[in-house]
């Protein structure tokens, strides 16, 4: 194996060689530099290969032929190898990326770049303190030089400020090293670690100075204004190096240094790190400049890793896995994003909308953001899982809270940025065309996914990228060039096949959910045949969601469950974002969902007690003081998905603005994931008490309130899809209520709602979507009288609303019947009243839906409208058939589940004898009802048609109008503000209190970020003072502790 020393030697040598070359010989100089960087990368790669495959072990390289402490020694272990590889690759790729700039600047700039890379590797490799100092100096000087490469005029000032700051840092470091050397007589890190008590003597001022110097080099929040200016103004390729390479190197230095400090200094590292993580993320919320935002994000990420380093003692042998996962994800993503920003002309966040129409770059953007946020299947996800579990195992709850809060903030601004880039009006400046730069970016993407694969393999929990459903979903990324028809067929086939394959392993409950989610999903996908072209981005997102759902149902351990949960969240986010005006709604969906997911993570972590392989069955064993909290966290997490009242504000917009065939997916199917979660939770943990309050009782109230508010809000909507969306909140409220009753029939009712809501809501969303497609509006008052033009859509809506209203003989009645029987055995009667109130309110919005769209007056411009496209109507008709079938023989679906639920609630099972279903209280015979009603209806209808056979068919204005005639259809169609008297009576209940609450929180965060970031004045002297103040404050805190 080539000695690691050659990494430094090659870099240094090439830099010297460059000095010998002639100025004009630019290609040559560039070639030499690239070769050198490639050579350095190859050496690192070789070491990674050797060390990772287990063929070799960490090697110490002694210079000057003597052992330390008499000479400087370098070490090449796995961590060093990986880090140097990452640094060298960043250097190499940046050099490729910088090709044009380098050609202009010539060999000197190249030399500085080489020195920078070499020095960063040196920081990683060296085990000698003074040597470390030297490499730091080199990095600082090289940085100062490289900053000047930018065309930005502010770069000069930024470079100067940087030099001022780094001088302060190096002085601190040097003084610290001198003190330490004085105390221990050695400069070797390992040597010093052995005698660490000597360094730490007397308040450990020596160590403090060294440590704080390294920490300052990490650009800790809030003493980092100088660094942010550099990030903002430097050339993006260099910012990439600064963030990825020098950040990684300095972190490793901090890690090494903490060997000396020992465990007493770890909390300080954690403290500084976590403050940086949360603070920088908070500040980033208010940023409008993309590079500065990335700078804040870098600071935050490095802070997080520093915090992880501070937790090194409890992470044990998973330390490298966790810290490395976060670090590498950060490095790749940040470098990639900086490179990407180089392609974009404008510096605002919305300027990234130039990416529209470049699906590959958007994919890169999405991948980087997912890498940063730590979503599956990227390394950060695995790392975060194990980190949080480990922290919870030690009871470090506050730290978990801060980490998750910071991560949520980070996800918030990153996804806001992504949403803007995708949905705002496309920026006029085109994306720079440079195949070099694109190749570099794609390399980073590949590296990110590669890391995902590797971390999956290293993970204790199994590799997500090898899970068949996810693989299938990601496979669609490759299939993107194909036409919609082919991809759609493949997707449907995939869903059905997976269902059939997994069929034997499902228990009845899983079967119901699987049927709704997979077969139901395939059914809805039929509607997607009506789209033309390639529909880029739809299938990977949709299939990612379905993959998540498929994995969720069968998940047995908490990790699998959580990974599936996050997958379906991401997939559905991308799906929702596809809608025309869905940007803010997709964002709020994402933020709520991630917050929910983090609560779930925290809940699992609490329950797992440090075991990353925790199974769902293990929830049963969680003991008393912890159990209610676990229950609470998980329940709230799941309720973000079912959009229980209070957590519902994302739903109406997200569902309404989504595309025609996406709305049924996210409404009919996605909401059920939350219900499934609650089912799993309740089955495992039963009912829990917190401070003497029965938690399921609170859920009862929440369910009932959701039912009431959802229905009430639905009645006042003018937008048809919003109406349906609010109705979903109500329906999920019913289901939640049923579940929280914690009795046999309550659960059965919840399941009934799962099936029913899927069928009728999907059907209604499709028909309303078809109508909206044809009429070009979703405002119901603009429609009217479409019954003769769109009869099939009308039938679907008619059947749908009869079913949803719960009026016999259709299937909605079954739900109500079970509900009544269920509440007869419960003691919680007050919330039940709310459910009673919300029942008839459903009639309000249902009638409004069908009346204002299909009945009433047809408008001028709609006179030539055609029926919705075949592929939209087909699934609707299938749904109609399903609904009728389910109405007639609910037993087909429910009987086995009924028996299954008996495991948990033996009391109260239904009797399924013959045609009649019996409970302890009453009975119900769906077929008889259908026949009786059908016979009466048919005979009366026949009679009426017979006596009225000669009726004159008249047109829409042939109505009695008090002797007048209607003026225009618009003024004759009664539709706007349909329930005005009702609003007068009960409108006060629809005040958007919840929305105001969340808006106030968001405003508060933004306002504080906006206020505090004035700290960064842009003045170099202020920055230097802040730096010193930071040192003093940390010192005081440290000694005070």
């Amino acid at each position: 194996m080539v000695s690691a020393l050659y990494i430094l030697a090659v870099g240094l040598g090439a830099a010297f060689l460059l000095g010998l070359l002639r100025d004009e010989w630019r290609a040559g100089a560039y070639g030499v530099s690239l070769a050198a960087l490639a050579c350095m990368s190859l050496i690192s790669a070789g070491w990674v290969w050797v060390l990772a495959s287990g063929d070799g072990s960490a090697v110490d390289i002694t210079t000057a032929g003597t052992l330390p402490p008499y000479a400087i020694n370098l070490r090449m272990g796995l961590a060093e190898a990986v880090l140097t590889l990452s640094i060298n690759l960043t250097g190499l790729l940046s050099a490729v990326y910088l090709r044009d700039t380098m050609f202009n600047q010539g060999r000197r700039a190249l030399a500085v770049l080489l020195i920078f890379t070499m020095a960063a590797c040196g920081i990683v490799l060296t085990r000698d303190l003074f040597n470390l100092f030297v490499f730091f100096e080199l990095v600082a000087i090289a940085t100062g030089g490289l900053v000047l490469l930018s065309r930005d005029k502010r770069a000069l000032a930024a470079g100067f400020k940087y030099l001022v700051a780094s001088q302060v840092i190096t002085i601190l470091l040097l003084v610290g090293i001198i003190f330490a050397y004085h105390a221990t007589g050695t400069l070797n890190i390992d040597g010093m670690a052995e005698v660490s008590s000597l360094v730490l003597k007397g308040g450990g001022l020596a160590f403090f100075l060294m440590f704080i110097a390294i920490v300052l080099d990490l650009k800790p929040f809030p003493a980092n204004g100088w660094a942010l200016d550099v990030y903002e103004s430097a050339h993006p390729a260099f910012s990439a190096m600064l963030s990825a390479a020098s950040g990684s190197a300095a972190l490793f230095a901090a890690d090494k240094l903490l060997l000396i400090g020992g465990s007493t200094w770890l909390p300080l590292a954690t403290g500084i790190g976590i403050v940086g993580f949360v603070g920088a993320n908070l500040f980033a919320l208010a940023q409008r400049n993309d590079r500065r935002l990335l700078g804040y994000s870098s600071v935050a990420q490095i802070g997080l890793i520093l915090a992880v380093i501070g937790q090194r003692d409890l992470l044990g042998d998973r330390y490298l896995f966790i810290a490395g996962g976060i670090l590498l994800a950060h490095a790749v993503a940040k470098a990639g994003l900086y490179w990407l920003s180089g392609l974009i002309e404008g510096r605002t966040l919305t300027a990234w909308s130039a990416l529209q129409g470049h699906p590959i770059l958007i994919f890169a953007f999405a991948s980087f953001i997912a890498l940063l946020v730590g979503l599956p299947p990227f390394p950060g996800f695995y790392a975060k899982w194990e980190l949080v579990i480990a922290l919870a195992g030690e009871g470090r709850i506050a730290l978990i809270g801060l980490i998750l809060f910071g991560a949520l903030l980070e996800a918030g601004y990153l996804f806001r940025w992504f949403g803007r880039a995708l949905k705002r009006e496309r920026a006029p400046e085109p994306v720079a065309v440079s195949s070099f730069k694109r190749a570099v970016i794609l390399t980073a993407v590949a590296a990110g996914w590669g890391l995902g694969l590797i971390w999956g393999a290293l993970s204790l929990n199994g590799n997500l990228l090898l899970a068949v459903p996810l693989l299938f979903a990601f496979g669609f990324l490759v299939l993107e060039p194909l036409s919609v028809q082919i991809k759609n067929s493949l997707a449907i086939a995939g869903l059905v096949a997976w269902f059939v394959l997994s069929l034997p392993s499902y228990d009845p409950l899983q079967l119901i959910f699987a049927a709704v989610m997979l077969i139901g999903g395939a059914l809805i996908l039929l509607a997607s045949y009506q789209t033309q072209g390639r529909r880029i981005g739809f299938y990977p997102s949709a299939m990612l969601m379905y993959a998540g759902l498929a994995m969720l149902i069968v998940a047995e351990d908490a990790f699998g469950f959580f990974a599936a949960w996050e997958s379906l969240t991401i997939g559905s986010y991308f799906l929702i974002l596809r809608g025309q005006r869905s940007e803010p709604h997709a964002l709020s969906y994402m933020v709520f969902s991630l917050a929910g997911a983090f609560l779930i993570l925290a809940g699992f972590a609490l329950a797992a007690d440090g075991d990353p392989l925790f199974t769902l069955a293990g929830l049963k064993q969680v003991a008393a003081p912890l159990a209610p909290w676990v229950f609470l966290l998980l329940a709230i997490g799941f309720m973000t998905k079912t959009a229980a009242v209070g957590l519902h504000i994302w739903l109406p917009g997200a569902h309404a603005e989504a595309e025609t065939d996406v709305s049924p997916m996210v409404s009919g199917i996605l909401l059920k994931a939350g219900l499934f979660g609650l089912f799993v939770l309740f089955m495992a943990m039963g009912s829990q008490q917190l401070y003497g309050v029965e938690l399921t009782h609170i859920l009862l109230w929440i369910g009932a309130l959701s039912a009431l508010i959802g229905n009430l809000m639905a009645a006042f909507q003018e937008d048809a899809k919003r109406l349906l969306a609010y109705s979903s909140i109500g329906q999920m409220g019913y289901a939640l209520f049923g579940l929280a009753m914690m009795n046999h029939l309550g659960w059965l009712m919840a399941l009934m709602f799962v099936i029913n809501h899927y069928i009728y809501k999907s059907m209604l969303f499709l028909s309303v979507g078809g109508v909206a497609k044809r009429t070009g509006t979703r405002d119901m008052y603009r429609m009217g009288g479409l019954i003769t033009l769109m009869p099939l859509s009308f039938i679907a809506v008619l059947i749908g609303i009869i079913a949803m209203s719960g009026v016999p003989p259709l299937s909605g009645f079954g739900g109500r019947w079970i509900f009544y029987n269920a509440i007869l055995t419960t003691d919680s009667r007050l919330p039940m009243i709310l459910i009673f109130i919300s029942g008839p309110i459903a009639f309000l919005y249902l009638f409004r839906l069908i009346h204002t769209i299909f009945l009433g007056q047809l408008k001028d411009e709609h006179r030539r409208i055609k029926e919705a496209p075949f592929w939209l109507v087909l699934p609707q008709m299938i749904f109609v058939a399903c609904l009728m079938a389910f109405a007639l023989v609910p037993g087909l679906a429910l009987r086995r589940v009924d028996a299954y639920i008996s495991q948990f609630h033996p009391e109260g099972a239904l009797g399924w004898e013959g045609l009649t279903i019996t409970s302890a209280f009453g009975y119900w015979s769906p077929i008889s009802i259908m026949i009786v009603v059908g016979v009466i209806f048919a005979s009366l209808f026949a009679w009426l048609v017979f006596v009225n056979r000669k009726a004159q068919k008249v047109k829409q204005f042939n109505i009695v109008f008090a002797g007048e005639r209607p003026f225009r259809p618009e003024t004759t169609h009664f539709a706007w503000n349909f329930f005005a008297p009702y609003r007068k009576a009960l409108g006060f209940l629809t005040e958007p209190l919840v929305e105001r609450f969340w808006a106030a929180i968001v405003d508060l965060l933004h306002a504080s970020a906006d206020l505090l970031r004035r700290l960064y004045t842009g003045n170099g002297q202020t920055y230097a003072i802040q730096l010193l103040a930071f040192v003093v404050v940390v010192y005081l805190l440290r000694t005070g502790l």
Partner: protein
């Protein structure tokens, strides 16, 4: 309980008796209301005349398929409701199709007719129809609530949802009636009853002065005849539920006629004394006066 073919003629017989009783009863009620105003009022056979007249009209128009369906839904709602509840207690002959479902079925089937009617009225395209429907639906959300609560209270009281069993539990003397065993629930239910009978003060849905008679504005001739028939049957079917739940049911036709008459009379008496509420007023009225009664009823049940 199961189906036998003989039930069909029995059911038709019930229907025949109830329809005729309904025609006469509504006329008698109109007469009573007229007598309060010192008028003679309509002849008791007037409903038959009107019905025949409406069938006898020669021309009619149609606004479309749903326009046909509306009255059919309406009458199906009335007839179905009658069929799903046993009319007389203790007779196989007049237990109708109650094998198909219990009290909950009846409770929800009440809405079948009005919703279908609303659809038919909607297709006529008349704005007043839609306005009437919005008023009706708005009012129903508050008016049905006390009844639902009372039903729950009664079901808990008797631990069953089967109408027959509830009636059976009330046998053995007038003091066994729910009216006396659970007076608060009955009070709540009776207030709700006022709200659903389309009589003053809760008849703004039809509001002849403001919007010509609301949903049925466009209906005429045989459509109207069907709705008139329902107007005779439906209140009785609804009263049968009240009678069975709260007033001990009826074991014979004379008892049935008497009890139905008296219960019906309650809404008429109230109706002739009070003027009309606006929709939001009646919603508030129900929420303030009737719902709390219902809440008390279920809390002590």
């Amino acid at each position: 309980m199961s189906f036998e073919w003989i039930k069909i003629p029995y059911a038709l017989l019930t229907l025949f008796i109830v329809a005729n009783y309904g025609f006469l009863l509504t006329a008698v009620m109109a007469k009573i209301a007229a007598r309060v105003g010192r008028r003679h009022g309509i002849p008791v056979w007037q409903n038959y005349l009107d019905l025949i007249k409406n069938y006898g009209l020669r021309s009619s128009i149609t606004h479309g398929v749903m326009f046909y369906m509306g009255p059919v839904f309406r009458l199906t709602g009335g007839v179905g409701l009658l069929m799903f509840v046993p009319t007389l207690y203790g007779t196989e002959m007049f237990s109708n199709m109650s094998f198909a479902g219990d009290l909950i079925l009846a409770l929800y089937f009440v809405f079948f007719g009005s919703l279908g009617m609303a659809l038919g009225a909607g297709e006529s395209g008349h704005p007043y129809s839609a306005i009437g429907v919005t008023r009706g639906l708005s009012q129903v959300t508050a008016a049905e609530l006390p009844f639902a609560l009372a039903v729950y209270a009664v079901a808990v009281q008797y631990q069953t949802l089967s109408v027959t069993e509830i009636v059976a539990a009330q046998q053995g003397g007038i003091l066994q009636w729910t009216l006396f065993t659970n007076p608060i629930a009955v009070a709540a239910a009776m207030l709700s009853f006022l709200g659903t009978m389309m009589r003053p003060p809760f008849d703004v849905v039809l509001a002849p002065q403001e919007i010509p008679i609301g949903p049925p504005t466009e209906y005429h001739s045989s459509y109207l005849a069907l709705m008139q028939t329902n107007r005779a049957i439906f209140p009785i079917a609804k009263i049968v539920i009240y009678m069975n739940l709260f007033f001990g049911g009826a074991a014979s036709w004379p008892a049935f006629f008497l009890k139905v008459f008296l219960i019906y009379l309650v809404s008429v008496i109230v109706g002739v004394v009070f003027p009309r509420f606006r929709v939001e007023q009646s919603i508030r009225w129900f929420l303030i006066w009737a719902v709390p009664l219902g809440v008390i009823a279920i809390m002590i049940a």
